[in-house]
């Protein structure tokens, strides 16, 4: 086991970070979510598909998890995790997690040709499960049935569906590919990864193969811990920079001891989140995933909440990006199992049983 970043991973990180710094600074993301401020619903176009094309095609992130013989890069989950750290740091509105992690991981056992198309970024897919589902409740929010190769029913809270060319729908242990279902984006807490309700009404579907949804969600939850780490890191770094700059009472507010101590404690939490994320990426066992999710979700949220508070009034304004991170952090606390769900799972995984 190594919990460190390899040289390859550091190179990958640099490429992604440089690209995002250039093309996706917080101000650009803010602009996207502001595109139609006076309507209740946001435009679909929160996703930056040009950026995604570069990320997927030039840097090649879309195919990281796809074996080389299927047209991908045959990289490890640890490499995908590094990409997620960077995307989390930027709350970048691209469908990496939904298409290149969740949907790709669902497809992998089937070795379907679609994998090649996803791997080079030509097409984008979404796994049609609710983002509130978890390895322990994989069908939460879903009520889809299959009848003669046609799907009917609804899945609420689906992330990435609005940007997907293909929808991958797990029903009763099988995975179906669908194009052209009804995807209605709902106003979402997380502005940079909106959720949608997907409705099937005797929709034509192609059976792709078998699908263990719980396993897919567990894999996703493990990697989500790296995205949460990235969110936490941005919040900590940005807050550190702010409190060093911002003066009140003729001192940088970062020289006030109460603030210093809170940031030291937060840093300790982030250090441990990094270890937990690395561990879950290199050892995606049920225990590692549950540990990483039950810790990192809370750390990302706490980091975002502290960032907002320590920014004072400016943190409460739409024009400062900290709210994008708060909303992402809160949404991922709920996504793929709450910290409490993951702790509850640990009770049996590590033999700390509840009251009888």
């Amino acid at each position: 086991m190594t919990l460190l970043y390899s040289e390859i991973e550091e190179e990958l990180r640099s490429s992604v970070r440089d690209l995002l710094a250039d093309r996706c600074p917080p101000a650009a993301v803010l602009k996207r979510v502001e595109s139609d401020p006076y309507r209740g619903e946001l435009l679909n176009s929160v996703y930056d598909l040009d950026l995604w094309k570069t990320l997927a095609g030039e840097i090649g992130v879309a195919g990281l998890l796809v074996p080389e013989e299927l047209g991908g890069a045959g990289a490890t989950a640890s490499e995908a995790a590094v990409v997620l750290e960077e995307l989390g740091r930027a709350v970048a509105p691209v469908p990496f997690f939904t298409s290149s992690v969740l949907a790709t991981r669902a497809l992998l056992p089937t070795r379907d040709a679609l994998l090649g198309e996803l791997a080079d970024g030509r097409r984008t897919a979404a796994l049609v499960v609710s983002f509130t589902a978890s390895p322990y409740a994989p069908s939460r929010g879903a009520s889809v049935t299959v009848d003669g190769g046609r799907l009917s029913g609804t899945v609420t809270g689906v992330a990435g569906a609005d940007v997907a060319d293909v929808l991958l729908v797990p029903v009763d242990g099988d995975l179906y590919a669908v194009e052209g279902a009804s995807v209605r984006v709902a106003p979402s807490l997380d502005l940079t990864r909106p959720i949608a309700t997907v409705t099937f009404d005797r929709t034509q579907a192609r059976r792709v193969g078998a699908c263990d949804v719980a396993a897919v969600l567990r894999f996703g939850a493990g990697l989500l811990a790296s995205e949460q780490l990235g969110v936490a890191e941005w919040c900590l770094d940005t807050t550190l920079a702010y409190v060093k700059e911002r003066h009140q009472f003729a001192r940088p507010i970062g020289s006030f001891q109460a603030i210093k101590h809170r940031l030291a404690d937060l840093w300790l939490d982030v250090v441990r989140a990094r270890a937990a994320a690395r561990n879950a990426a290199s050892d995606p066992s049920s225990i590692s995933v549950a540990v990483a999710q039950s810790w990192n979700a809370g750390v990302a949220l706490h980091a975002a909440e502290e960032a907002l508070q320590l920014h004072g009034g400016i943190g409460m304004t739409w024009e400062h990006p900290v709210h994008l991170y708060l909303k992402r952090a809160k949404a991922t606390e709920i996504a793929l199992g709450t910290p409490g769900d993951h702790r509850e799972a640990l009770a049996s995984l590590v033999d700390v049983p509840g009251p009888e």
Binding site: I195, Q248, G312, G313, G340
Partner: protein, 388 residues
């Protein structure tokens, strides 16, 4: 003056003034009869009576016309009026207090600036004397109701060469003067409760100055003291307040319950209840004439609780949606009329607005617990030389 005498006054007033007549005329008459705020002096809408007798008047006049938009008058009634009463000239009191109270003229507050939040005294908006006028330039922020307001209370720097507390002057700002620009300030909830106010070459006659030149900090203390009094309170009923919608949802959705959430909800319920009891005890102390220092802490407790409870609610509901991101002005905080996502985001402001929790902890530590202050580096430095 006692309760019986007050009741007599009200009766005499009602004998002369028909509540069914013109609303504004009625309110003006009520002001002139000294029944606006009985603890104010005679001639300024009051009778010089003890403050607690006001509730007698309110009870007696419960069914008569009231000011429109009570919420929008909060800053005028709660902050501008006591300051004008304390520091205003005879002429200022006559000019401003009556339309302020009747609601004919709405007031807002131009204190905070982007660079001066917790450290208000470091504010940078300049007022430069030009004959009988002052020319004001600067930017204010977190101004609620600025777009409805006729007047504002304003603190500006008139002398940058002395330490920060000493170079301030307090003004009444004419919000219709040229150079006053009001822009809505969108918040993380999507809506705009507040405004930014840009002041560019705004000319205010010297008779809009409140208090002496250079005495603005002392005048502002009166305003802020009245702000602090207004904040606090809290639910009077067990199980009320922010935890109520959560408990309701909890009862309605057994399928969402987990042991983790259950234990945490019970903890929040207990904290809510002891905080409520603490507020109840505070009110008993006040009505027994034994005000204790406990009030200083109520806002801190409620900010923490509101944030914890609303965060819990979203997690319990596993709610990834949001009711409405539309950018609109809102006149007040509507915790219960909006969805849990709004409650969660809006509650984040509770530990910032009206004094951050950090500043309030300083205040409790120093004023209540008597702990020594930190070494000060800005006491004797001219404002213009302060690091910022």
């Amino acid at each position: 003056m006692n309760e019986a005498e007050i009741k007599e006054r009200v009766a005499a007033f009602l004998a002369e003034q028909d509540p069914a007549g013109d609303r504004l005329e009625f309110l003006r008459a009520r002001f002139d009869a000294g029944l606006a705020w009985v603890w104010f002096p005679e001639g300024y809408g009051g009778l010089g009576a003890p403050r607690e007798l006001q509730q007698v008047v309110e009870r007696e006049l419960a069914d008569t016309p009231r000011q429109l938009h009570a919420g929008m008058l909060a800053i005028g009634l709660g902050m501008a009026a006591p300051t004008i009463l304390t520091f205003g000239t005879e002429e200022q009191k006559r000019r401003f207090l009556r339309p302020l109270w009747t609601g004919e003229e709405v007031w807002c507050q131009l204190f905070s600036e982007p660079g001066a939040g917790s450290d208000l005294a470091t504010l940078a908006t300049r007022a430069v004397r030009d004959g009988d006028e002052w020319v004001v330039d600067g930017q204010k922020v977190w101004t609620s109701g600025a777009h409805h307001s006729r007047w504002a209370i304003l603190v500006a720097r008139t002398d940058p060469d002395v330490p920060k507390h000493r170079g301030l002057t307090y003004f009444i700002c004419d919000m219709q003067a040229p150079g006053v620009e009001v822009r809505p300030l969108r918040q993380i909830t999507g809506e705009a409760e507040f405004n930014e106010v840009f002041l560019t070459g705004v000319r205010l006659p010297d008779d809009l100055r409140l208090g002496a030149v250079g005495d603005g900090w002392r005048v502002a203390q009166t305003t802020l003291m009245n702000e602090r009094v207004a904040i606090g309170g809290g639910p009077a009923r067990r199980g009320g307040g922010m935890v109520a919608p959560v408990v309701e949802a909890w009862r309605e959705h057994p399928e969402l319950r987990t042991h983790d959430l259950h234990q945490r909800l019970l903890e929040l319920w207990v904290e809510t209840e002891v905080t409520r009891l603490s507020g109840a005890r505070l009110r008993e102390q006040l009505s027994a004439g034994q005000p204790g220092p406990e009030g200083s802490g109520m806002k801190l407790s409620f900010a923490r609780l509101n944030q914890a409870v609303t965060g819990f609610e979203l997690e319990f509901r596993r709610d990834l949606g949001y009711d409405d991101w539309a950018f609109r002005r809102s006149e007040s905080v509507d915790f219960y009329g909006r969805g849990p996502g709004y409650r969660y985001l809006r509650a984040k402001g509770n530990s910032i607005e009206g004094g951050t929790s950090e500043i309030l902890r300083n205040i409790v530590a120093e004023r209540v617990l008597g702990l020594p202050s930190e070494p000060r580096v800005d006491k004797d430095v001219p404002w213009k030389d302060l690091p910022r």
